[in-house]
């Protein structure tokens, strides 16, 4: 017991009620890919924060830049992709410009990441126990034996039956759900303050998705980790997240408390995404679908990138790009919420 206190302590100490101190602050983050046809901007000046103990859901269509944002935060963009501007701060410390070795030590220990596919996140040549002990020993000075004990504890914590037997088995001897539990244990084994979970259940059977999400939520709460939860599943978001950021074409379209965004969307894109466009007599299909598709990075429209698909677009949308502005209890990047615009419309109407 004594041996594991290093970890247990920090876990206990951080499981305090949610504070307002942000764990993660992202400011005007920009991610670019130089290509032969010019520079592509996958993430374009986005800003958001995640508070202590908070779960921030990130949603958006495929290619919106969700994974890019997560990868940039943890410092694992693959060259030639690079952070071209902005700042990322973890508990107040700037981490986007750290030397590789220093950032490497933070990964796993202060920021963890869970990927979408548990089948491929584990090296087929190593046992589950090897994965765990190697990670634990990277971030602590526990002995091989202590690390193994800690690994066993973690395995039972993530709900793997008979850990003593399972620890020496290879990934292919585990089911998808069990593997994802191992992956969660791996991401949490050095008690990071922030977990970036990139579609952690997409590859899993529907029947076990809820279990894994609940496990992730419970463990993060117990370990005092905040979560950036990237997903396509609004059900998961509604159930798990405290706040939601909706991404579109490399930018945040709307961000706000989860109930607000789901029930009272402020951005036309979110409305479409939530299937809440009030069209009288419209079929169900009309409600959910937004016409057209997200633009490719090579041809982002001028002004508001959503304007070609937006049912409420007007002149200004084509010329000027809206930044996030207060909208109801959320923030939305949409000119409809510009006070000047509101005044004009009221005047006109």
């Amino acid at each position: 017991m004594n041996e594991t206190t290093t970890f247990a302590d920090s876990a206990g100490a951080t499981a305090r009620p949610r504070g307002n101190r942000p764990v993660l602050e992202v400011e005007k983050l920009r991610v670019e890919f130089p290509t032969r046809k010019g520079t592509l901007r996958a993430v374009d000046d986005i800003s958001f924060h995640i508070d202590e103990g908070e779960v921030l859901g990130v949603v958006g269509e495929s290619g919106a830049g969700k994974s890019m944002t997560g990868t940039a935060i943890i410092g694992l963009l693959e060259p030639p992709g690079r952070i071209a501007g902005g700042e990322v701060r973890l508990e107040g410390e700037r981490i986007d410009n750290l030397p590789y070795e220093k950032m490497r030590r933070y990964r796993g220990a202060r920021i963890g990441m869970v990927f979408q596919d548990p089948l491929t996140s584990l090296n087929p040549l190593y046992t589950v126990g090897f994965h765990l002990t190697e990670t634990i020993r990277t971030h602590s000075d526990l002995s091989e034996k202590q690390a193994r004990q800690r690994a066993l504890d973690l395995l039972s914590e993530v709900g793997i039956p008979a850990p003593e037997r399972r620890i020496d088995q290879y990934p292919h001897q585990f089911s998808g759900g069990m593997r994802q539990r191992v992956v969660v244990a791996l991401a949490l084994c050095a008690n990071p303050r922030l977990i970036i979970a990139d579609e952690p259940t997409t590859a899993l059977d529907v029947s076990i998705q809820a279990q894994i999400i609940r496990l992730l939520q419970r463990l993060c709460r117990e370990h005092g980790a905040s979560v950036m939860l990237i997903t396509h599943d609004m059900g998961v978001i509604a159930e798990t997240a405290d706040r939601v950021a909706v991404m579109y074409a490399g930018r945040i379209a709307e961000v706000g408390p989860v109930q607000e965004v789901v029930k009272n969307a402020q951005h036309p894109y979110t409305e479409g995404l939530m299937g809440a466009i009030p069209t009288i007599g419209g079929t169900h299909e009309d409600l959910v679908q937004i016409k057209g598709s997200m633009p490719r990075l090579t041809q982002i429209p001028s002004g508001c990138a959503f304007h070609p698909r937006c049912p409420k677009a007007f002149d200004r949308c084509r010329r000027e790009r809206p930044e996030l502005m207060p909208a109801g209890r959320s923030e939305a990047a949409c000119w409809l919420h510009d006070p000047a615009e509101k005044g004009r419309r009221r005047g006109n109407g």
């Binding site: 694992l76 963890g112 089948l119 584990l122 990277t138």
Partner: protein, 328 residues
């Protein structure tokens, strides 16, 4: 599994029979064996006797059958030139060739794997570009040219290494080795490098390609996300996953190394089976040619068989995992 092995064994058998037929037909079509064995002034009667004794008057199918049965018992007849059992001659020469092939394979692995890892990890460094360019040269220059160049530089010009032969050889009774003497090692350096150069570049390119592929997999990304040091990621997780194909290919290449030894052995006058084969061609010593042909084919077939079976055992899980891990 059993059915698979049986099927592959049968296929191998067919291949060997075809090769045996080829080797056998050399006896029929390249000169009259009796002419090779007797003097010009031998009488027709003696010749006919000999012919009868050698079974050359039997039907072709019977002769072929006898040839196959004998070959299966390692009996390839008597060399015209050396007047000795061909199997004994080959056994005398085999250690030289096998040692050369072995050293070449080791050289190819020891140099090729690190170069492959380096070029895989540091894709854009200038050293990687040098390695890749040099490897192109290694692939495109013919073996004999490289051998002759090396002889010119290290034997003729610098005088560091012997230009021919096997150096001092120690006879262990069942095996004669050059690996126990300094001169033996000195003599082996250039032939091994010459023979192994092609495989080395092959291995380097293979390891590089595999590394690039494995480095893109999710488990390598996840290993990085867990904060593992580069050393653990590159060697523990990435390199280890490239070794299965590398070892397979090297194993497969062993067959061609032995076969290609002909050229290297000729350039360096290395007293192996290849050199003997070339000399046999010059003197139309058909039993040696036939035996060598069958032996090389046999080595190829056995290696391929082993590798196929290994694949069958290793493949289903590993290959599928790797394939899905690569696509994101």
């Amino acid at each position: 599994m059993i059915a698979f092995i049986v099927r592959r064994l049968l296929q191998s058998l067919v291949v060997m029979l075809v090769v045996a037929l080829l080797a056998f037909s050399m006896f029929r079509f390249i000169g009259d064996p009796v002419n090779q064995m007797v003097g010009v002034d031998t009488t027709e009667e003696v010749r006919e006797n000999l012919r009868e004794r050698l079974g050359l008057n039997d039907p072709v199918s019977v002769q072929f059958g006898r040839f196959v049965v004998n070959a299966a018992q390692l009996d390839f007849g008597i060399s015209y030139q050396h007047k000795k059992e061909v199997s004994n001659l080959l056994a005398e020469r085999a250690p030289a060739t096998l040692e050369l092939a072995f050293l070449s394979a080791i050289f190819a692995l020891i140099v090729g794997v690190p170069m492959g890892v380096y070029t895989g990890l540091h894709r854009d460094s200038w050293l990687s570009k040098v390695f890749l360019t040099v490897s192109l040269v290694g692939i495109s220059l013919p073996t004999f040219l490289i051998g002759i160049l090396m002889i010119f530089i290290f034997s003729v010009w610098l005088g560091w290494l012997p230009s021919f032969g096997r150096g001092e050889v120690v006879d262990l009774g069942f095996w004669s080795t050059g690996l126990l003497t300094v001169s033996g090692w000195q003599a082996a350096i250039m032939p091994s490098i010459t023979l192994g150069l092609f495989q080395m570049t092959l291995i380097m390119r293979l390891v590089r390609a595999e590394m690039l592929e494995v480095l893109r997999t999710d488990y390598v990304k996840f290993a990085r996300a867990r904060g593992l040091p580069n050393r653990a990621v590159h060697f523990g997780h990435a390199l280890k996953n490239t070794l299965v194909p590398v070892i397979t290919i090297t194993g497969l290449q062993l067959g061609s190394i032995i076969a290609f030894a002909i050229i290297t052995e000729t350039v360096f006058q290395w007293p192996g089976m290849g050199l003997m084969f070339l000399q046999a061609i010059q003197t139309v010593d058909i039993p040696i040619m036939a035996a060598y042909l069958i032996l090389i084919a046999f080595i190829f077939v056995v290696i391929n068989l082993i590798v196929d079976i290994l694949y069958y055992v290793v493949d289903p899980r590993l290959r599928i995992d790797r394939a899905t891990a690569a696509g994101h």
